[in-house]
Amino acid sequence: MNDATSTNQTPLVQIRDLHFSRGNRKIFDGINMDIPRGKVTAIMGPSGTGKTTLLKLIGGQLQPDSGDIYVDGQHVNTLSNKALYQLRMRMGMLFQSGALLTDLTVFDNVAFPLREHTKLSESMIRKLVLLKLEAVGLRGARDLMPSELSGGMARRVALARAIALDPMMIMYDEPFTGQDPISMGVLVQLIRKLNDAARISSIMVSHDVAETMQIADWVYVISEGKVIESGSPEQLRSQGGEWTQQFIQGLPDGPVPFHFPADDLAKDLGACL
């Protein structure tokens, strides 16, 4: 399959021979990835494969055991703390829980990065915040506290906050998990529209196949620490291997077996008799 690097631009994120373990458990075993600029790139795989960990490695919140991660040409795992924070100002991240600051209103949450990193006047910050909230359809909810929001609304507020500083890229961590169909549809549309309108690069980690395939330009499928396959959604649907087909179609049995490894059933039953 074609690699994402076939575009003319240098990839925004380059991952080379990445190894990462937690204790004795190997999470990544030499993965390579190129995340193109201006596209929605999805990273899919079963639960527990380290998709969120990968986002934390890209954002420099975790250090790999070995390998290299470059974001916009900067070697993330060797950056000084100051340089890393400078780089993060150009990244946005939407956490699975929203990660809104619970003691601040919706307005103050979205204004937070602007107040922290810019010297804009309060009137300018107000205008920017209202525009960001308008983009996610929650301008009217600006005075609510995070505890008063539904899960979908909280993620939309978090999205408004993530784009407050007009970042070059946004990382979405399981944006559709636990959402009702309407909230999911809203988020799907928002992610695509924001990516195209603001010319942002998006990295989306998810195991919601239908929604992800609907908006992704490029998909990486990972499992057991390795990239199993990558390609456009159409390519994966038509030419994907057996494992990918099982994952995409949600088949109960296949390369990922339905049964947990065990002794022969007859032998087991015989032992009971």
Binding site: G59, Q61, R88, G92, L100, F112, P113, R161
Partner: protein
């Protein structure tokens, strides 16, 4: 069997040393956040309110009652020897030297310390601290440092308040209810309490306890396992570790100051 016990002991030792190392790195990070606080004092003022002001009520009530009990017990004992006039000195010395700093720190650990741990632990569990990091805001400077300095400032002030209200409670019982001579009560206190030996040493104790209690509370919250059970255990550890640390340090400091 012996190998397993040795391995467990070794594992415990490594884990304890690693925890101590992380706690020391954390306090260095929090201290380095002072420049941010100077630049934005509002962060500190907000925490002074939630850590300090909201603890005033329990400190005031406890101080008053401790002073009243001291007045009562002191009177019963001193009156056996005809020494009721020394009641003021006894109440004040007990409070300023020992009970004020120690009981304030224990109450602070129970009220504010546990709240700090739970708050920071929940911020960790709900990814708010990670969210700050990804917004290029250092949570150690933005969240932890103001809380640390608020604790450091609050405890000595609360201890002073505890001692003052305790002395007032002692006077209410001794001077008001039991008829101890008012002049003797206040003159004995004025003459017997030494500025450097009693007030300064008491102040130093409360500063040390403030640092230790707040440091333990923040570290436990920041280092906890980000689950409801993890936060619950961390909160318990805060109260237990802080209380033991205060009592142990009180002995060490007393031996150094008055020995």
């Amino acid at each position: 069997m012996i190998t397993r016990v040795l391995a467990q002991l070794g594992g415990f030792g490594v884990s304890a040393l690693s925890s101590i190392g992380r706690a020391h790195l954390l306090i260095l990070n929090m201290l380095s956040g002072l420049s941010d606080i100077i630049r934005r004092p509002r962060l500190l003022i907000d925490q002074l309110y939630s850590v300090g002001v909201l603890t005033i009520l329990i400190i005031a009530v406890a101080g008053l009652f401790v002073g009243m009990v001291l007045g009562l017990q002191g009177y019963y004992i001193l009156s056996r020897f005809g020494g009721e006039t020394a009641l003021g000195l006894m109440v004040a010395a007990s409070l300023v030297r020992e009970l004020g700093p120690v009981l304030t720190a224990l109450l602070f650990a129970g009220r504010a310390g546990s709240a700090l741990t739970a708050e920071i632990g929940l911020m960790k569990a709900t990814e708010q601290l990670s969210g700050l990091e990804m917004m290029a805001v250092d949570p150690k400077h933005r969240v932890l440092s103001p809380r640390f300095f608020a604790g450091l400032i609050s405890v000595p002030l609360l201890a002073a308040m505890f001692s003052c209200l305790g002395i007032f409670g002692g006077w209410l019982v001794g001077g008001g209810m039991l008829g101890v001579d008012q002049a003797a009560f206040w003159n004995g206190m004025q003459g017997g309490i030494d500025f450097s030996d009693d007030l300064v040493n008491g102040f130093i104790k409360s500063v040390v306890f403030g640092v230790v209690c707040t440091w333990i509370a923040i570290y436990q919250g920041y280092d906890c396992i980000p689950t409801s059970e993890g936060v619950s255990r961390a909160t318990t550890r805060t109260v237990v570790h802080s209380s033991l640390a205060v009592l142990g340090l009180d002995f060490v400091l007393t031996a150094l100051m008055f020995g």
